[in-house]
């Protein structure tokens, strides 16, 4: 009798983008545990070549409809370094406010509509709405407040139009930002409650003890700036990132993995990594909520990531409230003019899903000569597969459907953004079964 078991999930649900899972177990030994991606490549790094510097923030936004601000913020700051542009405190504050909007709407989406159904036993947020109306309606309202913040500062929630190299096309009216305050304060209160509610979910065991990597700066929870630090003791400037991390093709996988040098080991980026490394920089209320939630640091169970996202949502609301109270953007200089010229620039920011790295070279003609982009999900991919390999022995007693569901749940802990990752990952499509009619 064959002792080989295989199971596949051809379309991973409730993740952004198109991915699949493939597992093969031979006599109790995990032979293949692959988090596959069949999303077609879109070649952004190549199509940026020959485009003007001013066009880059609008183009890179289109890499991802869930985290366009992350791409815009990273690109703008990398290009500003290349051009020698020094931004003003007002611009930096406004950028942080905009980024808060993206963290809020992205985390609210994942927590309520994509992740919570796993813990409460539903197949979607829509079906959860019947029995958990407060949770879903509250989640949609949180997401809408994040989107509204993006609209007021960025002009539009998906692919904001107001962001430019050098700052903002037009400073948002201070009155419009202050009008958001009641909603932002409600959001802060609701997300602090959520930390408590979500921390009472039942969490499967999920010990993974990854090496965490995030940006860190002394004075703020990381979004737009910081040095790259790791739980293995690394601390480097972002400019040295590619000396310590490398995108590699590995024999067993269809996808390029970004790994730590020199050993080529996996690592984790994202909310859990950030909280483990930067909890001291959390604003006060979010920090108290994290402490009261029973989370023990460092977090070593990826299923707790849903609690961490709620903590980060509270932190983003708390910061947005503080900024909105004092922001006088329309009385300040919010755009630095520049002359196109050649140069090179590197920057990284913390996207909702983790560290996002951009490197650009601008030619003497002022057009992009070279672009390198390393998104969070390509960095997490090796870690996700590692986690799958550790999880599998414990689910072998389950039938295939139940075991596959446990694996899917594990993958969703990372909130993988396949749309982002795929456009840079190296795919071997011949190893991925083409999907049936989706």
């Amino acid at each position: 009798m064959s002792r080989i078991r295989t199971f596949d999930v051809s379309t991973l649900a409730r993740v952004e983008g198109q991915g699949a899972l493939r597992v093969r177990i031979d006599d109790g030994r995990v032979e293949i545990a692959e988090f596959n991606i069949y999303e077609p490549p879109r070649f952004f790094e190549r199509l940026l070549r020959g485009r003007a510097v001013a066009e880059v923030p609008d183009i890179v936004a289109r890499i991802c409809g869930i985290c366009p601000v992350a791409y815009q913020m990273t690109a703008c700051q990398a290009l500003e370094k290349a051009l020698g542009i020094e931004t003003t405190p007002a611009i930096r504050t406004l950028r942080r406010l905009l980024y808060c909007g993206e963290w809020i709407q992205s985390h609210a989406l994942h927590v309520h509509l994509l992740h919570a159904p796993d813990f409460l036993g539903f197949e979607s947020g829509f079906t959860m709405a019947a029995t958990h109306p407060e949770l879903i309606e509250g989640g949609l309202r949180l997401k809408a407040i994040g989107s509204r913040l993006l609209e007021v500062v960025g002009g539009r929630a998906v692919h904001p139009v107001n962001v430019c190299v050098g700052g903002f096309h037009r400073p948002p009216a201070s009155a419009a930002i202050r009008e958001l305050l009641p909603d932002l304060e409600w959001g802060l209160g609701r997300s602090l409650e959520l930390v408590r509610e979500v921390s009472r979910f039942e969490f499967p065991d999920g010990v993974h003890r990854s090496v965490c990597v995030a940006l860190r700066s002394a004075d703020e929870y990381p979004m737009n700036k910081g040095r790259v630090v790791s739980s293995a003791g690394l601390e480097i400037d972002v400019a040295d990132f590619e000396r310590h991390f490398e995108e590699r093709q590995v024999a067993h996988s269809t996808a390029l993995h970004c790994v730590r040098l020199p050993e080529g080991l996996p690592y984790e980026v994202g909310p859990v990594a950030r909280l483990n490394l930067c909890h001291e920089q959390l604003p006060a209320a979010a920090r108290r909520a994290a402490a009261a939630s029973g989370l023990t640091l460092p977090i070593d169970n990826s299923f707790h990531s849903i609690v961490v996202r709620c903590v980060e949502m509270a932190a983003a609301f708390e910061e947005a409230v503080a900024i909105a109270k004092t922001c006088r953007a329309d009385e300040s200089c919010c755009r630095i003019d520049y002359e196109p010229r050649g140069g090179a620039g590197i920057h990284a920011t913390e996207a909702p899903r983790g560290l996002l790295y951009h490197r650009y070279r601008i030619g003497a003609d002022g057009l992009i000569a070279e672009a390198t982009i390393i998104p969070p999900t390509s960095q997490n991919q090796a870690q996700i597969e590692d986690d799958l390999r550790s999880l599998l022995p414990s689910v072998l007693g389950l039938d295939d459907a139940a075991a596959a569901l446990r694996c899917e749940r594990l993958i969703r802990n990372y909130d993988p953004c396949i749309s982002c990752a795929t456009h840079f990952l190296k795919l071997a499509i011949d190893r991925v079964r083409p999907p049936a009619a989706d």
Partner: protein, 266 residues
């Protein structure tokens, strides 16, 4: 609200994705309260990004995001077409090929080797093309991303069996309605508003910047006249070529104009 026991079955909605950023389908989830109204009135039977349950077709409404860019896509869109009574393409990728259609002017080997170390492992088509190049499409919703209001209008119209009220006039009309000072006339910025279809609410000019055409061409656009005007007023021809060749670059009207502008002037 639970349907009465004898209520007719709800119309069935499905959401499909090809090469895209996911931003258009996520507009469905951004509709806040209106989202739950939709789920009250239609059965969302296939929407992998939002739910695990997937029921087989046929569907009453199929929303398709993304462009045709990989082997297998053509076969899959034909199957989807056959399964959907009313097929709607949503967004610049599905309706014109998207930003990834910039590859259509290069050689695919160049694009592959620029991004991928082992290009032979990548299966991709040489071009990124709109859905309507491959199957009949019942309605196109433009934009990068689409507008949530237009999406809800479309779903409502299909449910009650009328034509969706989606304007085909230019962004200029929306700019005037909004009271925005014309960036082209007052500030000399080359703006595609006069030739671009409305729908965004004339967003970019309200932020003191040019429209870059993400809703594609309006009815009866005259691009040659517009770019000629900008060129006579000092705009760089290469800048104009890039402006027309962006998020809806492969649309036939915009494509023809960017190719004309990219040629050396005779």
């Amino acid at each position: 609200m639970r349907p009465a026991p004898d209520a007719p079955p709800k119309p069935r909605l499905a959401v499909f994705k090809f090469a895209s950023c996911d931003g258009c389908q996520l507009q469905l989830l951004d509709a806040q309260g209106r989202l739950l109204e939709i789920t009250d009135r239609v059965a969302i039977d296939h929407f992998p990004e939002a739910q695990s349950r997937s029921l087989a077709g046929p569907y009453d409404i199929g929303l398709v995001e993304g462009s045709i860019s990989a082997p297998g896509d053509i076969e899959r869109i034909r199957e989807i077409r056959a399964a959907c009574r009313f097929l709607v393409t949503i967004g610049a990728c599905a309706t014109s090929g998207g930003i990834q259609a910039l590859r259509n002017w290069g050689t695919i080997d160049d694009f592959l080797s620029a991004v991928y170390a082992t290009p032979q492992y990548i299966a991709t088509l040489a071009t990124s093309t709109p859905i309507s190049d491959h199957v009949a499409v019942d309605f196109e919703l433009r934009g990068c991303p689409i507008d949530t209001g237009q999406l809800l209008e479309l779903i409502t119209a299909v449910l009650v069996g009328r034509k969706p009220r989606v304007p085909t006039h230019s962004v200029c009309i929306e700019c005037k309605a909004r009271g925005t000072v014309c960036v082209a006339v007052a500030r000399g910025i080359a703006c595609l508003g006069p030739v671009t279809q409305a729908g965004c609410g004339a967003l970019c000019p309200a932020y003191d910047r040019e429209c870059f055409g993400c809703f594609g061409p309006a009815e009866q656009p005259n691009l040659v006249s517009l770019t000629g005007f900008y060129e006579r007023h000092g705009a760089d021809r290469r800048h104009l070529a890039r402006l027309v060749r962006s998020f809806t670059a492969w649309d036939p009207t915009f494509r023809g104009e960017s190719e004309r502008l990219a040629e050396p002037p005779s």
